[in-house]
Assembly symmetry: C2
Homo-oligomer: 561 residues x 2
Amino acid sequence: MTVTKWNVRAGAYYDSVVLMQLQRGLLGLSGVVDAGVVMATQANRDLLAANNLLPDSISANPDDLLIVVKAKDDSSATEAIGKADELLARRKSSTVSEDFRPRSLSGAVKQLPEANWVLISVPGRYAAGVAREALELNKHVFLYSDNVSIEDEIALKKTAREKGLLVMGPDCGTAIINGIGLGFANRVRRGGIGVVGASGTGTQAVTTYIHALGAGISHAIGTGGRDLKSEVGAITAHQALDVLARDIDTKVIVLVSKPPSDEVAMKLLTSAQATGKLIVVDFIGYSPPSRSLGNLHFAASLSEAAGMATSLAEEQILHNESSNYQSPIANHYLRGLFSGGTLAYETTLSLQALLSPFFSNTPIKESQRLIDPLRSQGHTIVDLGDEFFMVGRLHPMIDNDLRIRRLRQEADDQDVGLILLDVVLGEGAHPDPASELAPVINEIKDKRPEIEVVVIVVGTDTDPQNLSLQVEQLRAAGAIIYPSVDAAIDFVARLFHQAPRSEDTPISLAAFSNPLAAINVGLESFYDSLVSQGAQAVHVEWRPPAGGNEKLASLLARMKK
Amino acid sequence: MTVTKWNVRAGAYYDSVVLMQLQRGLLGLSGVVDAGVVMATQANRDLLAANNLLPDSISANPDDLLIVVKAKDDSSATEAIGKADELLARRKSSTVSEDFRPRSLSGAVKQLPEANWVLISVPGRYAAGVAREALELNKHVFLYSDNVSIEDEIALKKTAREKGLLVMGPDCGTAIINGIGLGFANRVRRGGIGVVGASGTGTQAVTTYIHALGAGISHAIGTGGRDLKSEVGAITAHQALDVLARDIDTKVIVLVSKPPSDEVAMKLLTSAQATGKLIVVDFIGYSPPSRSLGNLHFAASLSEAAGMATSLAEEQILHNESSNYQSPIANHYLRGLFSGGTLAYETTLSLQALLSPFFSNTPIKESQRLIDPLRSQGHTIVDLGDEFFMVGRLHPMIDNDLRIRRLRQEADDQDVGLILLDVVLGEGAHPDPASELAPVINEIKDKRPEIEVVVIVVGTDTDPQNLSLQVEQLRAAGAIIYPSVDAAIDFVARLFHQAPRSEDTPISLAAFSNPLAAINVGLESFYDSLVSQGAQAVHVEWRPPAGGNEKLASLLARMKK
């Protein structure tokens, strides 16, 4: 028969390392069978219950500390509970040179004026306040703490963006800046691959695999898991991309995240395209628009992202396209008139990720459905073989009439800059489609020479239509020919490529090229880790305002104003 | 000033080739500026309107034929309308040897008893009836017609499945059986790659690219675009996979479709896995669970699918796993206890596509959300670093207590057959995680030796924890170690691999190995194409029941019963 005893301490602040050490201390006492030392949140109470460590009669608030001991007899339990204070004190005395430590951020800055980064790992409810202070002191922030509200995150990131500072996090587990790991980070070779990671272990896995493949990391910038949500709008990811794009030592950039919202993804991919650098994208679980789009390469897993980045870096492929190139039709619309449903769908899948506003009669998302299949809007892909058009009419692979009429209709629209067609050869199809389509393409190019006409021709050298004759006729009419959707989209994506523009205050590259110097607020182990890596660092002997008494703290804050 | 005249013909049936030819005939007459010959559906009326060919005063039903002529003067317009009958008759007489043609399916079967396929391309409203008749005559069906109801599709496919017959379609554009293209099909080399295509041009593109890469096609089986919807449940795709799996000439199978519903995808991938053959999957726009899972390889585009299939076929990789292998834990549950959120997410992404029922506290789909994060259900992945667990507690990369308790909890569950962990090394993490985890793994393996413990270890050779020492300790405790999620999932997928089971009546391989002989009902051009490819074929001089008069037809049908 075991005996369970407990002790509740109201509203006091305890470092989570202290709590872990207290629990271990209790478990080490004679007669103790199990012990739990937790803040009394519902989740933690449920966890205690799952371990048979929650007596029915405990009443405690989420801010209270709960110490529970299960022992083999009453006296052991009582004795253990009684030793809690002694164990807490023992931990205290083990920390040396505490007297020299600053007790505030501003004190730490006086001690280490060259500090360019502040690492924050205090409990969530205090973290935003510390981060705000760090930004006021013009420091970049690595915000490890979780349980920070999204409103605080947005406010902090907007302030940071205005000042040309980075806020990595909240809930940012990992970063590597100028060779020094912040938070959880693996020791990896330095090299030409930069990482922008909205996920901590994602960044750890990718940097680890890159190291194993013999390549190295320039910088790995964390954003926190919520950065790519619509509300935050990937503020940090955009800043990180920009700074890595300007960093000459970064040759390839890996972008790792859970799938962002469509709008955020589109903006981020557009920015990534505009950097002109080689970018490997792993939006884990995102349907890539294709395997690659210009300078963007899409990976299906963390290990593949590492592999792709390593080979791109090794091959030293130079992406020749100037990032300031803008084609004359970049601000016009694309219209795709397809006979093949799947070709239309594959094209739609790629383009809807890059072009906006985008519509189709066979859309990927309902919000992109063309209101009237007979009238294009914005960028449009129409599947002319859709059932809607097919009552009493031959398929557009056999009868070109519908497509020819629509071709003329699109060319009359002054907003149109590119028309995309497919021509599918083979058994059953029109015996000579180019003979009917080429004259219309010719007519369009005569009337509006600026319009690009791109044709995807699917067929074999043994098809009855004579593939090369078909291609020749279309090319002579002024069309650009591709054999597959992938190849055509790659071309189209470059034409509609937008020159980069950013109103953000750029981040000075100094924070990335100067030796890393940092102030640590929170988990002492992060400070130890910085020092062991040879970085200059100061640890703040932080306590929450008013010792964690929130009523008193808010009173003090009000008095300050 | 142009003049528009029109003529409405009520409720009669016209072949769409006839309509196209009539329109072209009218356009060729002197004084005619434009002409439209369409069934008077709303879509077609809108199309006429878009071409300024729809006078306000026309009243017609969707089943009516609408002939509209725009001419430069009144007399030309009147004359053209008057010539419609003559033009229709002219088309008639151009077809030779009509007298020898059967006028019914059963008549055609008498003429070509060895026919194993029936091609149907009559208008949608008649198509299901013809298909039903073909199945009654024990013929496989290639159903090109669109605008067939989904109820008819389901009924036809269920009948076919019971009889060991295939219904490709409705709206099936493409198939290649034993070297002969049906419908729209490119002329491609024969070879070892089979295709199951839910999309016509998808199949055309893939087979074309395979041909261009020097490889060839065994058979390409179409399913129709709706086959992979939940309502139909991929009946045809499952049959097609099964028949290609049994066909010894097919070495690699390509599966092409728009993304199916999750449930259909899971069943189809499970069947595909169970075939033991190398399978390339291109569910266009689907987020692949990873680049490959055992014998399944995921492509991101049609051209990539062709490339992958070609290299797999060339490399002659022999997939050694017997398709009847079943591991002792195949009917147990997997439990993943992760410290890394992204590793948990990547794992969840892969496994939720393969295992059911599946749950997680950080799910991809809300329906897979774990009700209580403290208690696993079915197959479960838990991210122990989620905010929920983190109030006043150190991250599980630093403090192993939470995970150790959960490890014991899972091992006590008799339904559990595999436990998956991650161990992330590096700065900031626990200095020796294996020293705490290995003893628990040991304890579990002692108690329940049948449980597999798989550990993903992420770290570098320069990390402070000593990577190889960590791996050694874990391995000595009985764990199986992998460096990445991909590699671990590949192993796990094989263990949970289900032996194939099917209650379908298998399709006789004879229909695929005997020379193709077919009956064609509908578009005559498909018959011409069969003959030009050297296939035996009979064209049915088909007319709708009661000449297209539906009231009379339903009366006749009722009298038959």
